[in-house]
Amino acid sequence: MRICELLHIDSVIIWIFGANSLNWLGEPSLIIPSIVMMSLWGVGAGMIIYLAGLQSIPTTLYEAADIDGAGFWSRLVHITIPMVSPVIFFNFVMGVIGSLQVFMQAYLLVGPSGGVGRAANFYMLYLWSKAFVQQRFGMACAMAWILFILIIGLTMLVFKSSPLWVYYEGEKRGGAR
């Protein structure tokens, strides 16, 4: 394709997905992948948090690893990942909490009905339409509490698993003192 054609969004989309471009929001099986792809534009926040976490790794550890002749992979597995595991844990918990509450993307893309075949009828979307479309506020509140209990249960599970895979430099001497 020619360079000037590259500047036409239509032709880029056709070039990537073929002439019979998919109907992303009209096909029930494609709505959720579309929303997932759209959420990719939100990864920046997680990246900044990882960057901050990476700043806290003492350079002495890498120097020591260099002296011991560690390669890229062993440094990644034995230093970087354990040292940023608190940040991974943070992003993981936030991911659990955030994704169970997914609402805005679906609301913007397909509206409160949940799209074709109600394929994107997320919990929060359903709750919203119960409350503000059908005016059943009591039921919506009950649903919110069920969601709350669900999320808190999952979060506690993740917290319980944390001693297995999260390494806290600040607690290395005998844990809770």
């Binding site: 969004i9 900044i48 901050a52 976490g53 700043q55 943070f90 909490i97 509140c141 969601l147 709350f148």
Partner: protein, 387 residues
């Protein structure tokens, strides 16, 4: 990290391949903000501001001629004047009478001619607007005295770049920005101060404090994020209404001084990675709890403090729902509300102006982000404690 040349090339290739699709919406926004208001949503959708032009050869140089459907009594653009040229008998050449060219027009780089061309289409005259760009005064004088030739064959349509930077001043002039900017900045400053201070203190306490029920309290703190904002919206409104805070900035500022579970959790995670030997050293040197926090731990947490500040800035700068709910009077509105109203007013007719306004709205966020990134990258490299 030492990489070979090919590894570096591969790294840049992968990162560029990831960055370009991510940046397409941004390019689209800036491109749209530079387009003329007509035909933005007509296929083919383009990233760059392009228009179909008929071209015109003047003195051997090609100039775009844009056909305008409805000229009517349209006033000429700022600093430009309409010039009415006369066609000669053969209808292929025109001469522009010098008396129709004003001095101001000559000083301007953009000279607008309005040509009326009869001929084949006797019933409806083709009105064309000739925009001659990049012509200095000297060249123009020559140009005006000469005959301008319009060979019929050249008048076929051609796709050319047509950026309109004038959309930006136009968008500014249509919004009353200054009071809203001041309002937004007031909320932003207080929120950054409140969020950073309170969350750092609470996060430090959850990371290092030893007290009964610490884990349970922390879970309660995290649990405040688990009720969706859509659910807590109405109770919050009732609360702030009973406090008499409607149409003030207190609903945005005061809660920030009471922490935010997201940043508390973030600070806690970060403080937990800092070796406790440093604190012990401070303790031995006679620092109290607060002294240790303020002089040792907070400087160590500079990357997270910066992250917290940038996130708070972005959140408050863009926040729409809160100001929409709590603010009633127009003089209290924030920029986000202002932009939304502007959008409502102009979206259907002049989406290019809406995009220009949005792009300007985004600029401070970008500046803050890049400043923070600079500080971030050269920030503290925690040297750690040997032993």
């Amino acid at each position: 990290m030492r990489l070979t040349k090919w590894q570096k090339i591969g790294l840049y290739f992968i990162m560029t391949a990831g960055a370009v699709p991510m940046l397409i919406p941004l390019f689209w926004m800036i491109g749209t903000s530079l387009k003329p208001s007509l035909g933005i949503d007509e296929p083919p959708l383009t990233l760059l501001p392009r228009s179909k032009f008929h071209t015109l050869k003047i003195d051997g140089r090609t100039f775009p001629v844009r056909t305008i459907e409805k000229l009517g009594d349209e006033k000429p653009p700022e600093g430009k004047a309409w010039i009415k040229p006369v066609f000669e008998e053969n209808r292929n050449t025109i001469t522009i009478p010098e008396r129709w060219v004003s001095r101001e027009t000559l000083k301007n780089n953009n000279v607008v001619f309005r040509l009326f061309r009869g001929g084949e289409h006797e019933t409806d005259d083709i009105e064309v607007l000739v925009v001659a760009r990049d012509k200095g005064t000297a060249t123009l004088d020559v140009l005006v005295k000469k005959k301008i030739e319009i060979p019929r064959s050249v008048l076929g349509p051609k796709d050319m770049l047509d950026p309109r930077p004038g959309n930006y001043p136009e968008a500014i002039s249509k919004m009353d920005l200054l009071p809203q900017l001041v309002n937004t900045l007031v909320i932003v400053c207080w929120s950054i101060l409140g969020t950073t201070l309170s969350c750092a203190i609470v996060g430090y306490t959850f990371a290092r404090g030893r007290f009964v029920g610490r884990k349970k309290l922390f879970l309660v703190c995290i649990a405040t994020m688990m009720l969706p904002a859509q659910v807590t919206m109405i109770p919050r409104f009732i609360l702030f209404k009973s406090l008499g805070w409607i149409d003030t900035y207190y609903p945005f500022i005061v809660p920030t001084f009471f922490g935010n579970a997201f940043f508390i959790f973030l600070f806690r995670q970060y403080f937990l990675t800092i070796p406790s030997d440093l604190e012990e050293a401070a303790r031995i040197d006679g620092c109290g709890h607060f002294g240790t926090f303020w002089h040792i731990m907070l400087p160590m947490a500079k990357p997270i403090v910066l992250t917290c500040m940038v996130f708070t800035f972005m959140g408050v700068w863009n926040s729409f729902m809160g100001p929409l709910i709590y603010l009633n009077s127009e003089y209290n509105y924030t920029l986000a509300i202002c932009l939304a109203m502007f959008r409502g007013q102009y979206e259907s007719m002049q989406p290019n102006l809406v995009m220009a306004a949005s792009a300007m709205m985004m600029l401070p966020v970008l500046i803050i982000f890049f400043l923070a990134q600079k500080a971030f990258m050269k920030g503290v490299v925690v040297s750690g404690v040997k032993g």
